[in-house]
Subunit: 255 residues, 2 copies
DNA sequence: CTAGGCTAGTTGTATAGACAGGTTTGGGGT
DNA sequence: ACCCCAAACCTGTCTATACAACTAGCCTAG
């Protein structure tokens, strides 16, 4: 029953078989053919219906579990988890990406864009020598034309020496880093504090002094662990909220 | 060079081989034999040195990558990631666990503990029928004897019908759920807002009205996705901060 | 000197088969 | 009616092998 879910495979595609299977299953989830609590087709079932080896089917199922949309129980099967994955938790997103995802129209107003010596805080976060130069970029972020937050990014000049000439501060910093310099940010550590808007911040954000704001401090890393960006942001708490997904550590390797 | 890292395997142990290898490698990380940026032994190397198949070695390495302590590059090898995993990011922790982790002395003062009908908000979050009963628990949380936050937990009565008689509201709710009822929370969705303390909240928390606070709303789930707890908390922002680790989605399946 | 190709080393994908250990179901014996 | 065991089914682990795709270094032909 329910083999409707598995689409035929394209054996000549460059897309790996396990990934095609994964897509089929995710599509089944999206369409509602697979509901919360349902039994996902077993490894043997996928394997025989699509003519792939069991290990390949297994790899597809494993990737669903890694995503968090399913869980396996030895002897019983693999079940659809109750948690939907509509929201992408734990993602580093640029402001532009994040707003578009929420269906809002992002706009950016540059406040300052220059080269400066790293202050102590930034130098420590970015592992820079004393006095090393950074590109400093202050921007006001707006969604649907009303202010959301103020961002202050600093990027080591060494990573992109000609950026001051080439970069348009109204566009996406992440895209420029990726496309012009091959700098791929894969991870970030972020601390969040709550505070009150100063008079100056309030003016920029269009809220009274003393309004509640989020204070983000974020360090972005490349895949080898080298820090590439230090960002301090102040966001309006009345228009912004944080969504987190937390997991609980499992004791060793019990099922 | 450096094969010191791999301990001999115990082929009669109940511990899977891939897990023994994983432990060896993690031990190498902990001891400093494997440093940030180092090349992890290749699949072939592990396979030939320990006499396991390449797929088994691969499974061990894959699990390190899943942990975030290493990353693989096709054609080059697997490297130790620069980011240490000392801090457990994004874990569901009880207040007690979290404070102990930070080296503070946690204390809890119960404010209210009773059975009530679920309000609309809690009923929706916990997937309860209209009017279904919940256990409602309001607690003041203190660290080193000074107030940190107010927590309001609600747990479906159906999950633990005799808890009102048995549970001591000064102790850990999570431990009671786990040990008395076999209820294991594995996942939680949380939204965080920033706001200002009301007069009543300020009195309990020992801060002036209008002080910045975090507002947490958390839904905790069991592994099948069934919701088990709905928590609304108000925490002092001057004594509490959030730490997050974010990852960036890789474009489809490129390396 | 350089461009191109060859090769050794590495991870990614896929196959086929085996056994272990868990759950569920149903049938047979008491 | 009840209990126990076998069979069917499922995931977890492991082996052995093959080829593809990518990297880096070396060497040769031009």
């Amino acid at each position: 029953m329910g083999q409707v879910i598995l689409e035929a495979l394209d054996r000549h595609s460059v897309v790996p078989l396990y990934y095609q299977i994964r897509r089929s299953l995710l599509e089944g989830l999206r369409s509602g053919a697979l509901k919360s609590g349902d039994l996902v087709p077993s490894e043997e079932e996928i394997s025989s219906q699509l003519g792939v080896s069991r290990m390949t089917a297994r790899q597809a199922i494993k990737s669903l579990c890694d995503l968090g949309v399913a869980y396996s129980l030895r002897g019983k099967g693999t079940f659809v988890s109750g948690m939907k994955l509509e929201k992408d938790f734990r993602q580093v997103l640029s402001f532009t990406e994040e707003m578009r995802k929420r269906g809002w129209r992002p706009r950016t107003k540059p406040l300052a864009f220059n080269i400066a010596e790293a202050d102590n805080e930034a130098a420590r976060a970015l592992h820079l020598a004393r006095g090393e130069k950074v590109i400093s970029l202050r921007r006001l972020r707006l969604a649907n034309a009303s202010p959301m937050g103020i961002e202050w990014s600093r990027v080591p000049l060494r990573l992109c020496p000609d950026m001051p000439q080439k970069f348009d501060p109204r566009t996406s910093l992440y895209r420029a880093l990726a496309e012009q310099y091959g700098i791929q940010i894969v991870l970030a550590d972020e601390t969040v504090e709550a505070g009150l808007a100063s008079a100056a911040e309030g003016r920029l954000l269009g809220v009274p002094k003393g309004s509640p704001v989020f204070l983000f401090t974020r360090i972005c890393y490349l895949h080898e662990g080298r820090p590439a960006e230090y960002v301090k942001s102040t966001y309006r708490a009345d228009r912004y909220k944080i969504v987190n997904r937390l997991t609980r550590a499992k004791g060793e390797w019990r099922n």
